[in-house]
């Protein structure tokens, strides 16, 4: 509702931009400017441990594309992003469907679901390190107990199980949050629609696929994209649980970049890596941003 056009509201100078200056200044200084600086560094051979600091053109990028370690990390990052996003979306959706039902103690379940999200990722890594410990871990014990495994598995100490273990830890930590996002989406679907379908004789399975799922699809897409963007930059879990090992079997782009920067001190080469990651994300995020803004304009905020 706006004021009667006959009444003149006083105009304000110098304008609301002044209020935006601190926020945009901080974001500019800590996010935008460093990205540009990183782009500049990626064309140089800057190494903190030596006086090297010269313009080398695109040679960092050439070296990168010829680097087996880069492609190894790239593959793991894509695998991690795809698999964890898939499971988090599917299990999250299942949890959300349970939570849309009204039942006694629903509030408690919802509160419990916030716990994995609130726990620091470093703590999650250590927690799963202990649960999946090769010798005394609870998971090995339970595996024996239920007869699923017969010898202890060195979960994150072996190249074949390390990445799956990290994925399990990430799925544990993130799925409940995903479920809450999807729950929000589900609750915007009017109950009258499913009721109508039920009166027409649709069973719950049909109700889900014919009514709820199509209406939920946009929220599902947004949540999955958010999640994928976040999974793509995974660092903490890998760095703390395996450090990229064993035998580089869990190396992802962020940990590889971090090592190039802070262990090898190759700021030029490392910056080429991080710039590449940046552009991959910006492509996804730009598509996402346009999509989201269009939706916001449609509902006329």
């Amino acid at each position: 509702m706006t004021v009667d056009p006959g009444i003149k509201l006083p105009r304000w100078r110098p304008g609301p931009w002044l209020l935006l200056v601190p926020a945009l200044g901080a974001i500019g200084a800590v996010s935008v400017y460093p990205v540009l600086l990183g782009l500049w560094l990626s064309f140089r051979n800057t190494t903190l441990s030596s006086p090297d600091d010269a313009f080398v053109g695109v040679s960092n990028y050439q070296q990168l594309f010829a680097d087996g370690q880069f492609w190894n990390a790239w593959g793991h990052t894509i695998e991690f992003t795809g698999v964890s996003t898939f499971f988090e979306t599917v299990i999250g959706l299942a949890m959300a469907l349970v939570l849309t039902e009204r039942f006694l103690g629903r509030g408690i379940v919802r509160a419990a679901m916030l716990i994995p999200w609130a726990i620091p990722t470093v703590v999650t890594s250590k927690m799963f390190g202990w649960l999946f410990d090769g010798q005394h871990g609870l998971v090995n014990y339970l595996g024996h107990f239920f007869g699923v495994i017969h010898t202890n598995i060195n979960w994150y100490g072996s190249p074949e199980f390390a990445l799956p273990t990290i994925i399990v830890a990430d799925v544990w930590k993130t799925t409940p949050f995903m479920a809450l996002l999807l729950l929000a989406g589900l609750q915007t679907i009017p109950a009258s629609l499913t009721e109508a379908a039920s009166i027409d004789g649709a069973n719950p399975w049909q109700q889900f696929w014919m009514v709820r799922f199509p209406l939920l699809a946009p929220s599902l897409l947004i949540a999955a994209m958010f999640r994928a963007l976040d999974a793509f930059r995974i660092f903490d879990l890998v760095y703390v649980l395996t450090g990229g090992g064993p035998a580089d079997s869990t190396e992802v782009l962020s940990t590889l970049t971090y090592k190039n920067l802070f262990s090898a001190l190759q700021f030029g080469y490392g910056s080429a890596l991080s710039t590449l990651m940046f552009f991959t994300e910006i492509i996804i995020a730009a598509g996402f941003g346009v999509f989201l803004l269009k939706r916001f304009r449609e509902v006329k905020l």
């Binding site: 509702m1 004021v3 901080a26 994995p116 202990w130 005394h136 609750q187 903490d236 760095y239 910006i282």
Partner: protein
């Protein structure tokens, strides 16, 4: 109405189909609770057990006898309180600044005529998705030029900027729900923008602001990579760095790690449980109904 249909209808009312949905929902929600809380409870139990029980043949689910050695150990031998102090300073200061600066910006975007507000919001959202690894190296160079490595202020400034997009978006949403007629009335009475902000917007939106602050505090409290890169001194390192470095030379001190995890997670869990309703509406933009 045909006789057959009447008969079928009466049969349906006479004998309702057995409903399996209820028990199934309770079973599923029980699984969700075990999934969410189980690992943390195991960590809690671990922190209270004797080392010799932890490496026994059969894990003990309950900590009997109770043993507080690990808690004593992390404070006495590992100076864990220093990390906690650093985290409190860094997360507290960055959250406070973030709320002040973010609320002012969100107010301008939500209430005053800023041209291209959706452009700014879109830009802010895009920035929040930058991979943080892309800014860590340049910021390291900047921080070392300024002599800011191993200081509180470098982490405070970084966390401030990382938290701003979230705070601006959430508070923008909150401020939009406050009826515009309120500030229009105040404007007609001659109130200036900042008066309206402090006297009308802030008091009405206070619950939302508190929740937003809590969420941004948790984010700063949990941040790992920048803290790892920018600090090397125990007097400036935060809790996640401390826990990540908890390894002894010859064995992994799972009991100590569990104790430290419990110490830093307990306050978060308590806060989250107290504010859970507000948090859920905060992270979902107010879309979850009761």
């Amino acid at each position: 109405m045909s006789a057959a249909l009447v008969e079928r209808k009466s049969r349906r009312t006479a004998r309702p189909p057995i409903n399996l949905t209820r028990p199934l929902i309770y079973l599923c929600s029980l699984l969700i609770v075990i999934w969410s809380v189980g690992p943390f409870l195991w960590q809690l139990s671990t922190s209270l057990q004797l080392d010799r029980d932890l490496i026994g043949d059969q894990p003990k689910l309950l900590p009997i006898p109770l043993c507080f050695d690990h808690f004593v150990n992390i404070f006495v031998a590992k100076d864990f309180h220093r990390y906690i102090l650093n985290s409190v300073v860094v997360a507290g200061a960055s959250t406070l600044l973030c709320l002040i600066i973010g609320a002012v910006a969100a107010y301008a975007l939500a209430r005053l005529d800023v041209r291209g507000r959706f452009g700014i919001l879109g830009f802010v959202l895009a920035v929040s998705m930058f991979p943080q690894i892309a800014v860590v190296a340049p910021l390291y160079v900047l921080a070392s030029t300024l002599g800011w490595l191993d200081t509180y202020r470098v982490l405070i400034v970084v966390y401030l900027a990382l938290g701003l997009p979230f705070v601006i978006w959430v508070l923008f949403g909150h401020f939009r729900t406050i009826p515009a007629t309120l500030d229009e009335a105040a404007r007609l009475d001659g109130a200036r923008p900042l008066t309206i902000f402090f006297r009308i917007i802030i008091p009405i939106a206070l619950p939302g602001i508190v929740t937003t602050g809590l969420l941004s505090f948790i984010a700063s409290w949990n941040e790992f990579m920048f803290a790892l890169a920018f600090t090397s001194d125990i007097n400036r390192q935060t809790v996640p760095v401390g826990i990540a470095n908890f390894t002894d030379l010859h064995y992994v001190p799972w009991g100590d790690i569990a104790a430290a995890s419990v110490v830093v997670t307990f306050p978060l869990v308590a806060l989250v449980l107290i504010f859970q309703r507000n948090i859920i509406s905060g992270i979902t933009g107010g879309a979850v109904k009761e």
